[in-house]
């Protein structure tokens, strides 16, 4: 049905007959009719080849190189998302404009850029400006788009895709490196890296919780240059809270000052509490082994644990679980 033109999108009554007929044909011929669909994807200059499945091998290889970004089982690359989304959407628009003379050029430029940018980074689909350009119906957008796709090198998954609840994203409890949920929030116009907190120049705030204290705090790691400074900050943060907690659990109201005790020995195991952290792989680690800047780049959150409980806790989720004392806390 090569003569088939934009009437495709005319309103329903006209379509009905065609579609019924078409469906029957499909059932007879399998999917061969699909090749005659208006919309085609693929590299320019190969449009004629699209309708012939005989050339499938070469064509598919070429297609695969364009779309070869981790979403086909044969391809071993481990890229996660791709900007083929962009490419495909743009390709659709281009094809749909029925301007075979201009599209090949536009698409071929895009094609090269796509594969380049795909191999390194992941598209930021949430980048408002570029996306809107992609959807723009104006034919001129075809030529404008290649430029914008160059800019679309920012990595980062799409917000809310795949559409699963957040708790499912954290499920695989192994140490495969995966971004924490926060990194899924793609901020427009920012280049997000694997550690999204780094992209914020102002500070590196991580949560810190302490055993026995129900309310957590946050610390800005950029404010400290060393482990010692961090340890003393932790002491300051929690000393008062710890004292208050002990007072309330003892059922007495006491002047906080009198019963505040310094929290010491966080780093060397000598104190009542020890500082641990959770890294970007989800593992719990003792604070202090890495150089400070390395620590800052991998830490996700901090915890102040009772030193006595360290040996009974699993520090790595892969290890067989040591039976816990039944009486926790």
């Amino acid at each position: 049905m090569e003569g088939y033109s934009p009437q495709l999108l005319d309103l329903i009554p006209k379509e009905r007959e065609w579609l019924v007929q078409r469906n029957e044909e499909e059932r007879k011929h399998g999917a061969s009719e699909e090749n005659k669909l208006e919309l085609r994807l693929g590299p320019p200059g190969q449009e004629e080849d699209w309708t012939r499945k005989n050339n499938s091998t070469r064509k598919i290889n070429d297609e695969r190189s364009l779309f070869s970004l981790g979403y086909f089982p044969n391809v071993g690359q481990s890229t996660t998302n791709t900007n083929t989304n962009t490419f495909m959407i743009q390709a659709q628009k281009a094809q749909f404009q029925l301007q075979p003379t201009t599209t090949p050029q536009g698409l071929s430029v895009m094609g090269k850029e796509s594969s380049q940018s795909c191999s390194t980074k992941v598209a930021d689909l949430q980048n408002a400006a570029e996306k809107k350009m992609a959807f723009s119906p104006a034919p001129a957008a075809n030529t404008a788009v290649p430029n914008s796709s160059q800019k679309r090198t920012a990595p980062g998954p799409v917000v809310g895709w795949p559409p699963i609840r957040s708790f499912r994203k954290n499920l695989s409890g192994t140490s495969s490196s995966k971004p924490q949920p926060e990194s899924q929030i793609v901020v427009p116009n920012k280049v997000s890296s694997e550690n999204p907190v780094d992209s914020c120049p102002k500070g590196l705030f991580v949560k810190i919780n302490m055993d026995g204290i129900p309310i957590g705090r946050k610390v800005d790691l950029k404010a400290y240059e060393s482990y010692d400074k961090l340890a003393s900050a932790v002491d300051e943060l929690f000393r008062g809270l710890l004292a208050a907690q002990m007072d309330s659990s003892a059922g007495r109201i006491q002047n906080k000052r009198e019963s505040e005790k310094a929290i010491t020995g966080l780093l060397d195991g000598s104190g009542e509490y020890t500082l641990v952290y959770e890294d970007n792989e989800g593992d719990r680690m003792l604070v202090g082994d890495d150089p400070w800047h390395m620590f800052v780049s991998t830490v996700k959150r901090l915890r102040v644990l009772k030193s006595s409980e360290l040996s009974t806790l699993r520090l790595n989720s892969k290890q067989e679980k040591v039976p816990l004392d039944a009486d926790m806390r």
């Binding site: 090749n35 989304n85 957040s166 695989s172 309310i215």
Partner: protein, 612 residues
């Protein structure tokens, strides 16, 4: 004389009695439209009220119309809130409803909430104000802490509660509280799932809430805390199970090890629904042997879940005896069970009606499901590795196998790497009975990898074949064509989810024109704009709501729509301060949510929500 005329002469008590047989609120709504007297009888006799959008009406008017309401169901946020597309303080507060009902002396027995914000204050007011409250269901709600929970638990001994079940949370503070009565006595079901901690979450309480149930509480029917992150007081747990002989459903969290499970099962052979915690032990140990014999005594278990975090494959055979009787199996949290072990397990599950599983089962595993689970009605396959580094995923082959092997299949949620038109067409032929069909390709715009075509034809076949389809979620590369098919064929469709699909306004127009029963339409990242939005403004009053985000709709069009349709609330959600009063009308709106309402703009909208 026609029957309707005769009916009018029936005493109202008779009418009321007849209406008692109408269970669904839709039927009751229809009945109340017949005439004034039917309206009156119906409104005084309605006990269960369903409000699909809490902002469509205010509580006072609901209570005024249905003074005898005993059971209220409320839904708050739009569905896309589950995927972080709606800011958390958008709205959906239950407190005004509870306050209004408390003030009016409503005899509330059951409250069911979905995607609403439930504060501790609300819970406390709820517990205090309604002495006959026996059922509280919160699905995907947020806003309260385990403090609120402990308060309710403590009140349990005083107020005659029924079942209290909290399950199925979402990431923020998702707590489902299901409270339903099984016996007239105080029967308590605690079903608790809290999955992630917000900054100021009260952590410490999580171990202690179990102890809030007094020793006198012996009527626990269901206890589910599978997704709670924290440690649990195992001794308290064991004691609780031991004294609650009516316990039917028990779902543990990861902190409950296998040896504790064994002791618990010894005390509760009457269980119908079991969720294990972590499941790892030495299979050659005494404990494991004891577990095996305990399991064999649990002949009533019909529903199984769990296997959280740690799983020892060699310990799985202990549960094979349960598998024979299972009708429901949820392994969607068991990311550490290898597909070969899953397959061995499935081989024993010939009675399954509902299966939730991770995609690491693979196509081959789904083939085993297809050949084993002939009673299967609902299947959900969740992604285990969405960051794409693994190779264990499912493709169209698995879906086709299932459709061929499971003739009773009517509901599917399927996350997959890829899909083909041919497969979808085959599935459509094999399973014309789908009520819910939700497909999600991990790459949202992936074409058919064999033909490189969009998936229009495949989904077209689905809507054409499944004449009873009520819910559809699309993904993959899609053009306006698929919407043409949907508009033409999906006559019963009530909910449609669209993402990254379509080429032009025509796509959306096909759906709006064609789907007469459409109630909810949610669209993201698709090129639908003002023409589609404004073509048939009256349509939106026949629907509950429309969500459009990252589309082509402009502020001006939203304003026009709002002006034309005073009985719609058109909300522009403006998180990044992109739009303000001085914005150009030509500016595109990032997130728009509109819904029909009888009460105008809501008063509790936060700053970033602008009702036009």
């Amino acid at each position: 004389m026609c029957l309707a005329y005769m009916m009018n002469y029936f005493p109202e008590e008779v009418l009321e009695h007849v209406f008692d047989f109408l269970a669904s609120h839709r039927d009751r709504n229809a009945v109340s439209l017949v005439c004034q007297s039917w309206y009156r009888v119906e409104r005084f006799s309605r006990e269960k009220v369903f409000i699909g959008n809490c902002y469509a009406i205010i509580p006072e008017r609901v209570i005024a119309r249905f003074p005898r309401v005993r059971s209220l169901t409320l839904k708050g946020k739009p569905h896309f809130a589950d995927f972080n597309l709606v800011p958390s303080d958008w709205g959906g507060f239950v407190l005004p409803w509870i306050e209004a009902m408390a003030r009016s002396g409503v005899n509330l027995e059951e409250l069911r909430l979905k995607r609403m914000v439930v504060s501790d204050e609300s819970l406390e007011l709820l517990a205090r104000s309604f002495p006959n409250l026996r059922s509280l269901v919160l699905v995907s709600c947020e806003g309260f802490t385990t403090d609120g929970l402990a308060a309710i638990a403590s009140n349990c001994s005083v107020t005659p509660l029924g079942e209290l079940a909290i399950g199925d949370a979402d990431a923020m503070v998702g707590l489902i509280l299901v409270l339903a009565m099984i016996t007239p006595k105080v029967a308590l079901t605690l079903f608790l799932m809290e999955l992630d901690l917000q900054e100021n979450e009260v952590e410490d309480c999580r171990g202690q809430w179990l102890s809030c149930f007094p020793d006198s509480c012996t009527s626990l029917v269901s206890l589910n805390f599978a997704c709670l992150k924290g440690e649990v007081n195992l001794a308290a747990l064991e004691r609780l199970v031991a004294r609650n002989h009516n316990l039917r459903s028990l779902r543990l969290n990861h902190a409950v090890p296998l040896d504790a499970l064994q002791k618990i099962l010894m005390q509760a052979p009457q269980l119908v629904d079991l969720g294990t915690g972590s499941y790892v032990h030495d299979p050659d140990s005494d404990t494991y042997n004891k577990l095996k014999s305990a399991v064999q005594k649990c002949t009533s278990i019909r529903s199984l879940s769990g296997f959280l975090e740690d799983v020892a494959p060699r310990c799985l055979p202990a549960i094979y005896p349960i598998c024979l009787n299972l009708t429901s199996l949820n392994l969607s949290y068991a990311s550490l069970i290898h597909s070969s072990e899953l397959i061995k397990l499935i081989h024993h599950c010939s009675q399954l009606q509902r299966l939730w599983i991770l995609d690491c089962i693979g196509d081959k595993g789904l083939g085993v499901v297809a050949s084993t689970c002939k009673e299967l009605q609902e299947l959900r396959v969740f992604p285990s590795d969405i960051y794409g580094v693994g190779s264990a995923v499912v493709t169209e082959e698995g879906l086709v196998a299932i459709s061929a092997g499971c003739p009773k299949l009517n509901s599917i949620l399927y996350f997959c790497q890829q899909m083909t038109n041919a497969a979808l067409i085959t599935v459509a032929k094999n399973c014309p009975n789908f009520i819910r069909f939700r497909l999600c390709t991990l790459n949202p715009t992936i074409p058919d990898p064999v033909t490189m075509q969009p998936l229009d034809e495949g989904f077209g076949a689905i809507v054409q074949s499944c004449k009873g389809l009520k819910r559809l979620s699309l993904s993959g590369l899609l053009t306006d064509q698929v919407f043409l098919y949907i508009g033409m064929y999906a006559e019963q469709l009530e909910m449609l989810s669209v993402a990254f699909a379509g080429n032009s306004d025509k796509g959306m127009l096909y759906v709006l024109n064609g789907c007469k029963k459409l109630k909810k339409l949610e669209i993201r990242d698709s090129p639908f704009g003002n023409v589609a939005l404004l073509a048939d403004v009256g349509k939106y009053e026949t629907m509950r709501s429309l969500w459009m985000s990252s589309c082509e709709v402009t502020l001006g069009a939203c304003k026009t729509l709002a002006k034309k349709m005073p009985r719609l609330n058109v909300e522009v959600i403006n998180e990044n301060d992109l739009i303000d009063a001085s914005s150009d009308d030509r500016q595109k709106v990032e997130k728009m949510y509109l819904y029909r309402t009888l009460v105008g703009p809501r008063e509790d909208a936060p700053e970033f929500v602008w009702t036009l």
